[in-house]
Amino acid sequence: MSKAPSLVARGLTRRYGGFTALKGVDITLQSGEIRGLIGSNGAGKSTCMDVLTGRGPDLIGEVQLEGVDISKLSERARRRAGLARSFQKTNIFPELTVRQQVALAARRAEFDNTEEVLSELGLMPHADRLAGDISYGDQRRVDLALTLVGRPKVLLLDEPAAGLTLEESLSLARMLRALAEQWKLTVMLVEHDMEVIFSVCDHLTVLHLGEILTEGSPEAVRSNPEVVKAYLGSTFA
């Protein structure tokens, strides 16, 4: 794994009125790593993704993508710069065919790999079907395809395995691992499914009440008593 950082974020903060959802979080993603961002509900994981991607008003913090400051860019411009994200809820276009929507996403990317993404994600059999007519598991893959197309530099995935069976989740984790290595992607993954997190991530960051509780390898995090107490419980310790 290369040691050059792909993404450096400093002092990420988000306030909602008097409530501070994210309190000066610093995150550095090394090129090619798969980082897991975990924490209980309300820990600030999705908010962290929002601030990184420039979603919403009053965002505080500095974000550098491969050494370029993108803090002042809109979410649209950040996507074009190579910072892509998926959303917690399936966020696709039900009235477009699978191919139409992936191609639509590709038109705004620097690199058009529509057919490659459809093929790698196993979506070819559904390519000409309306996305609203395919199964939920396939819709999640379409969601991922929209994020992956154009080979972004950094991929932020918000619970990509939500609603999937254990088998589907692990299959997704294997596919992510393979794609990250093949396409040299840097990935930050928010996920509640610890099977997925421990099977795919190189490094974990644990958020608790808007602050970083700890960071480290999956083994180190799993055995950290504070993490066990605040989030994991005894199941994964």
């Binding site: 649209r76 276009f93 477009l96 191609a103 590709a106 057919e115 929209l146």
Partner: protein, 334 residues
């Protein structure tokens, strides 16, 4: 330059383009042949009315399909266009041809400007704002007697020849059906191609999930405004046909009931296909005529039809026909 992505968008659709275009060409040809097939003048009059109302309904259906907005005020663009022709013909020295071309263009520009106000709302609020804006136009024409002659309306004073053709061409049912049918066919074909273009895909995506489209790196406000403006423009073209055919305009051409009728027609015909609202217009006009000849309660029959279509055919009659067509060809609904 055609990118691989653009080709990916068009490639599967190209295969499916030929058969629908052949069917469209046959239907269009049948329409053009009707006046020479001895069809009675009363029927041709209904066909001319249906074609003109079909243009208005197509505008409403296009807006629903590409943006999800349900307009209760499209009569403002339709009647507004007719009033513009009447007023410019009476008070300006412009030629009739320029007036007839300028009226829908003025409505297009007004629709584009109005879109930026309308787009601050969505859903029911959009529908209510469109209703309010159209009713304001209706009231203005009702009350402004010195200019618009109030509820008595205005005669549209056009010269004996327009675009080198005798004005009577536009006022006889047989020839006007040919003109309005040609306009309707051109509009539907243009919208069909638009729906298969990148812009059509983009606007459908915005309708489905605007935030995700923004995050893919697209601007969303301008495409939505363009859809509203184009829809207004199509409705205004309907207004031009109405003005030519009737030679007279009253505030009823701006009334909400006409907007509602266009929406009912679009729902009956179905909005998922570009040609659905046009089909709905022919069904509606003939159903109303047949029901009106047999009972004074024709609105009840139209109402029952609307309920039946809404419950049994949620994609309208065109949606049902497309499903049957796809089944016959052994393909899924796309």
């Amino acid at each position: 330059m055609s990118t691989p992505a653009a080709m990916a968008i068009s490639a599967p659709t190209q295969k499916k383009t030929a058969a629908p275009l052949i069917v469209a060409a046959v239907v269009a040809a049948i329409g053009f042949a009707l006046p020479s097939l001895g069809v009675p003048m009363t029927t041709l009059s209904l066909l001319a009315q249906a074609s003109i109302v079909g243009v208005l309904a197509t505008a409403v259906g296009f807006l629903v399909r590409q943006s999800g907005f349900v307009s209760f005020g499209h009569a403002a663009f339709y009647g507004g266009s007719a009033y513009l022709i009447a007023l410019l013909a009476a008070h300006s020295k412009l030629s009739a041809e320029i007036i007839l071309i300028a009226a829908p263009i003025i409505v297009l520009v007004a629709g584009f400007a109005l879109a930026f106000i309308m787009l601050r709302t969505s859903g029911v609020a959009y529908s209510m704002l469109s209703l309010a804006a159209a009713q304001a136009c209706f009231e203005l024409m009702m009350k402004w007697r010195s200019i618009a002659n109030g509820e008595d309306g205005l005669a549209i004073k056009l010269p004996r020849e327009v675009f080198g053709l005798p004005l009577s061409i536009f006022q006889r049912p047989d020839s006007m059906f040919m003109v309005s049918w040609a306009v309707l066919v051109v509009i539907v074909v243009c919208l069909w191609f638009l729906s298969r273009s990148h812009f059509g895909t983009l606007t459908l995506a915005i309708k489905n999930n605007e935030e995700r489209v923004r995050f893919l790196g697209y601007e969303t406000l301008l495409p939505r405004a363009i859809i509203i403006a184009l829809s207004a423009f199509i409705a205004a073209i309907g207004g031009v046909l109405f003005a030519l055919y009737n030679g007279f305009v009253t505030p009823m051409a701006l009334h909400w009931s006409l907007s509602g009728e266009a929406l009912v027609i679009a729902i009956i015909g179905g909005t998922r296909a570009a040609w659905g609202p046009a089909l709905g217009a022919f069904i509606f006009i003939f159903l109303r005529d047949i029901a009106g000849n047999n009972t004074t309660h024709w609105q009840g029959i139209v109402g029952i039809t609307l309920i039946v279509v809404t419950v049994l055919l949620p994609n309208g009659i065109s949606g049902a026909l497309v499903t049957l067509w796809n089944r016959a060809r052994g393909v899924s609904n796309v």
